[in-house]
């Protein structure tokens, strides 16, 4: 079990850099070659057993994750990498949105992808098929990515300077909300086949995101989803939230997403 993240009871997280010559063979579980802050090595037995003492700890439980998230953020800033954390319920269309984006903006922007999933490599294979560099993280029983996993994924992925890094989180609107990965923006995706009260049911996620994508608008004629109500609910939870409606299938609305994306990419300073 990894000491810093404690994800899942077996803590078995694996990383694959999808690679043409050796598909799925870069399997290393948690290479701990960096120093984790908070390891003290006091092992000797204590002599004054009955003295009671109060220790003022005053430490945030997410301190360790937040520390590593800031470390990731520093790495991204230094290399001018735009890191985006994509979160949604299972099946809202995160991978579909990435497939479209990677194909449509090929040549315009440089991309790298980290895929989070409990068990499979299916999503990473779909991304690899678009010709994009991708690392798959399998979290086992863990239901979210954390900053520590991103740090390790980066060691193999090595995204290029000035690139866009998409991180597809595990499909889950609860747990990933609490874990800062060091991303610049958090993008929450819902689809019209879900309830329009999603933002009210999962307020933490909508509160911590900067952009909400409403996907599968091509299905609006067939489902009872009230898009105005969904937007109003999202705004109630987070009045700063930007909202884009689109369909990955028909392509409707995708230009809005592409414009948003390009507006977030900082041009490298001319020297």
């Amino acid at each position: 079990m990894c000491a810093t993240c404690g994800c899942g009871s077996d803590g078995k997280t694996t990383f694959y850099l999808v690679d043409k010559d050796q598909p799925h063979t870069h399997d290393h579980s948690h290479p701990h070659d960096h120093v984790h802050p908070h390891d003290h090595g006091h092992t000797h037995a204590h002599p004054h057993a009955n003295e009671k003492k109060i220790i003022d700890v005053e430490q945030d439980v997410l301190y360790q994750n937040n520390l590593l998230a800031e470390r990731n953020r520093g790495y991204f800033d230094a290399k001018n990498i735009l890191a985006l954390n994509l979160v949604s319920s299972p099946g809202s269309g995160k991978t579909s949105l990435l497939e479209r984006t990677l194909k449509d903006l090929k040549g315009e922007l440089e991309f790298a992808v980290i895929e989070g999933d409990q068990q499979t490599n299916n999503d990473a294979d779909r991304i690899f098929a678009t010709g994009t560099r991708v690392t798959q993280i399998n979290t086992g029983k863990g239901c979210h990515l954390d900053a520590h996993m991103i740090l390790h994924a980066m060691q193999g992925l090595k995204p290029k300077d000035n690139s866009v890094l998409f991180i597809e989180n595990v499909g889950n609107l609860v747990c990933p909300a609490m874990f800062d990965l060091g991303e610049k923006e958090r993008v929450v995706i819902i689809s019209v086949t879900e309830g329009d009260d999603k933002p009210l049911k999962y307020p933490d996620m909508f509160h911590s995101s900067t952009l909400c994508i409403i996907n599968k608008t091509d299905l609006l004629p067939y489902v009872p989803f009230d898009i105005e109500k969904a937007k109003a609910n999202a705004k109630k939870v987070n009045h700063h939230l930007e909202i884009i409606e689109l369909s990955c299938t028909t392509g409707e609305g995708l230009p809005l997403w592409y414009n948003w994306l390009k507006s977030k990419v900082l041009q490298p300073e001319a020297v």
């Binding site: 009671k52 003492k53 005053e58 997410l62 360790q64 909300a177």
Partner: protein, 113 residues
């Protein structure tokens, strides 16, 4: 269930501090948990009993300070208790609010021996 990760984090913080103080046992642990920290207390309870097995927190008395969430209306400056991000200001009905407290999730103190 991220509560398991959270409990593991609490155990690590407590054990690190207890060991640094060369303590043999942790008698009490005091936690601050805000009502809007994102922690579901039933899940937390379940995760706790599972995760403390074999750790220094196995027999520790747990004290939880539940911190009621409060917000301030950005329109009329009223301060009020909230349960959800979408709660409106009770005075003017606005949703433009700022959270003042209730997001806490921390280990406050330990009593060790």
């Amino acid at each position: 269930m991220h509560e398991l990760s959270i409990v593991m984090g609490i155990i690590k913080i407590a054990e690190d501090h207890a060991r640094a103080a060369e303590a043999a046992a942790i008698d009490e642990i005091e936690l601050d948990i805000g009502t809007m920290s994102g922690i579901d207390m039933d899940s937390m309870e379940f995760a706790w009993t599972q995760a403390i097995q074999g750790t220094m927190l196995k027999d520790t008395v747990r004290k939880i300070n539940s911190i009621t969430a409060k917000a301030k209306c950005l329109d009329c400056d009223t301060e009020f208790e909230i349960k959800n991000y979408y709660d409106a200001c009770p005075v003017c009905g606005e949703h433009l609010i700022e959270i003042l407290q209730g997001k806490e999730l921390k280990v406050r103190s330990l009593l060790v021996s």
